[in-house]
């Protein structure tokens, strides 16, 4: 990850005499002291909390007769109280890492309590509502404790709510169409408030999944085109050097360009299901390969996520065209030959441009 690369680069610069050793050590120390830095202790603590919580959830699911069910109910509510109070006490003492583990246990035990009630009264159907109550409880806990760990749990629960509704028979798509973006918005707001930066990606992924659902709801070529076009527009705004929004997008890191690129590819993927004749395949193949190469060319240097997505799209599209073939095997072969020559021409032009730019920059620098 980044720390490993940073350490290697610092060593490299120290060896080259660009940086003295004490400064390099200080830089690395500063990075390690950041809250977002990886801490083995904290991660292991959360893993332990997840294992304990899983034990609680499975104990509920086993419906073990040795414990009378009223005792189970009182026990799990007591567990919720104990976990939150312990978390609160630890937070008050400044032991944030340990506190996060207790808050995770409390939030998951709340889900166990909901499942227990469903089991006690033999509730069948509408598990979505139960999951939604769990999500709401997690959101309340994340908000009141201002906890990043619980925010992450809430984000996963948002997926569980959507997945549960999606997989059950008689899915209520009308509900999901507004519920998914609403949950994503709640998660994004929680992320802003609690500072659980990485959890933001779960909200973005939920929105991408929501676009897929929208297509399922309005299954027409126009929907897929709209998704691809929106993704393309967002990506170009975030990545084109001429775009007025580029600076803003880059200040938010790799995410804006990556997710709009992902939406573009999602739209193209859906279009593949819409057009299955030879002409459609040819056109889509050209567009998809152009999108893959465009992404690599535009963002390849600064955005590793887009670059790998571009490689993936390129490989998948090539394999798809090779297996489906455009008209005939010979036709596909001809298509790849033309594509190869075009890409080679572009590569030659780009190399020439890059050489000219670097020559001019060197001239200005001198």
């Amino acid at each position: 990850m980044y720390r490993g690369r940073l350490e290697r680069d610092l060593r490299h610069w120290t060896a080259a005499g660009l940086l003295d050793a004490p400064t390099a050590a200080r830089l690395l120390k500063e990075y390690d002291s950041r809250e977002s830095a990886f801490s083995v202790g904290r991660v292991l603590m959360i893993i332990a909390a997840l294992l304990v919580s899983a034990a609680i959830l499975l104990l509920v699911a086993s419906n073990w007769e040795a414990i009378p069910r009223l005792a189970r109910l009182v026990g799990i509510v007591g567990l919720i109280w104990g976990a939150y109070l312990a978390g609160g006490l630890l937070l008050a003492r400044g032991a944030g890492r340990l506190a996060a583990a207790f808050l995770v246990i409390g939030t998951l035990a709340f889900g166990g309590a909901i499942a227990l009630v469903g089991q006690m009264y033999h509730l069948s159907g509408d598990a979505t509502q139960a999951m939604l109550v769990w999500f709401a409880g997690a959101v309340a806990a994340a908000l009141l404790f201002r906890s990043g760990a619980v925010t992450t749990i809430a984000a996963f629960l948002a997926f569980a709510v959507a997945g549960n509704e999606w997989t059950q028979s008689g899915t209520d798509e009308a509900l999901l169409v507004w519920l998914m973006p609403a949950m994503a918005l709640v998660v994004v707001l929680l992320v802003r408030y609690t500072g659980a930066e990485r959890t933001r990606h779960l909200a973005y992924l939920l929105l991408v999944a929501w676009l897929g659902l929208l297509y399922g709801e309005y299954e027409r070529p126009a929907t897929a085109v709209a998704i691809a076009a929106a993704g393309a527009a967002g990506y170009l705004l975030a990545a084109l050097p001429q775009s007025p929004l580029r600076a803003l997008a880059r200040s938010a890191g790799a995410a804006p360009a990556f997710y709009s690129y992902l939406v573009l590819l999602l739209g193209l993927l859906l279009l593949h299901a819409e057009y299955d004749d030879a002409g459609g395949r040819l056109l889509l193949g050209v567009v998809t390969l152009a999108a893959a190469i465009g992404g690599i060319a535009l963002s390849g240097r600064e955005n590793g996520a887009v670059r790998y997505l571009g490689y993936l799209a390129f490989a998948a599209e090539t394999l798809y065209l090779a297996s489906e073939t455009i008209g005939s095997i010979l036709g596909t072969s001809g298509f790849f030959l033309v594509s190869g020559l075009v890409v080679a021409l572009i590569a030659w032009a780009v190399i020439a441009l890059e050489r000219r730019f670097s020559a001019r920059n060197a001239g200005e620098g001198a």
């Binding site: 086993s62 419906n63 073990w64 009223l70 509510v77 939150y84 009141l144």
Partner: protein, 195 residues
């Protein structure tokens, strides 16, 4: 710093969250216990249809004759295609003590002496040939699962498959049924306590 100023004292947060979540659980329990305590009694025959739920454990699937509503007993207007609807189903006891559906509606049914009205769970309605009512409408009521201790489902399943299983349920005024007892050959096997 803004970050610490905005923060609710952790102990207060702990109590707030615990009270809130306990209240939710308490409400869920009481909404069901109140049906068991004071709902109207009905008795239903069950039929054969076993699976496991990730969070709630092993259960036996129960299906009821009243889950298949004949189109002939549906009164009132039918909804449009693909609409999400609930039905009201009027149950009346037969001579054998088992309750069967006598009337159903996509709207509401008025309470009547000697009958109980059940509300189905929401479902998507698809009409039959040329927009007519389908011959049978399949509905569920939220009492189609009976959770059992791990590994104990077998006895109930065998009894159910021989059609020897009956369910006693109680129904809230709003029409929500709640399983109260499971009867094996007329004898109660599982009696549901209030809590």
């Amino acid at each position: 710093m803004a970050r610490t100023l905005l923060r609710i004292p952790p102990l207060l947060a702990a109590i707030l969250v615990a009270v809130l979540q306990t209240a939710v659980i308490g409400y869920m329990v009481e909404s069901r216990a109140s049906i068991l305590r004071s709902g109207a009694d009905i008795r239903l025959k069950t039929m054969p249809v076993d699976p496991r739920d990730l969070l709630r454990g092993d259960y036996v699937t129960l299906s009821y004759p009243i889950s298949a509503i004949p189109g002939a007993i549906v009164a009132g207007a039918a909804p449009g295609q693909g609409e999400r609807v609930r039905m009201a189903v009027r149950l009346k006891p037969g001579p054998d003590g088992l309750w069967t559906a006598s009337e159903a509606s996509f709207g509401t049914l008025q309470p009547q002496e000697g009958s109980v009205v059940l509300r189905t769970l929401p479902f998507q309605y698809y009409p039959g040939f040329e927009g007519a009512l389908p011959e049978t409408i399949f509905v569920s009521y939220g009492i189609e699962r009976y959770y059992v201790p791990e590994g104990e489902g077998r006895v109930l399943e065998e009894a159910r498959n021989q059609q020897e299983l009956e369910v006693e349920a109680r129904v809230s005024p709003a029409g929500t049924p709640q399983i109260a007892r499971i009867l094996l050959r007329g004898e109660p096997v599982y009696d549901e306590p209030l809590y």
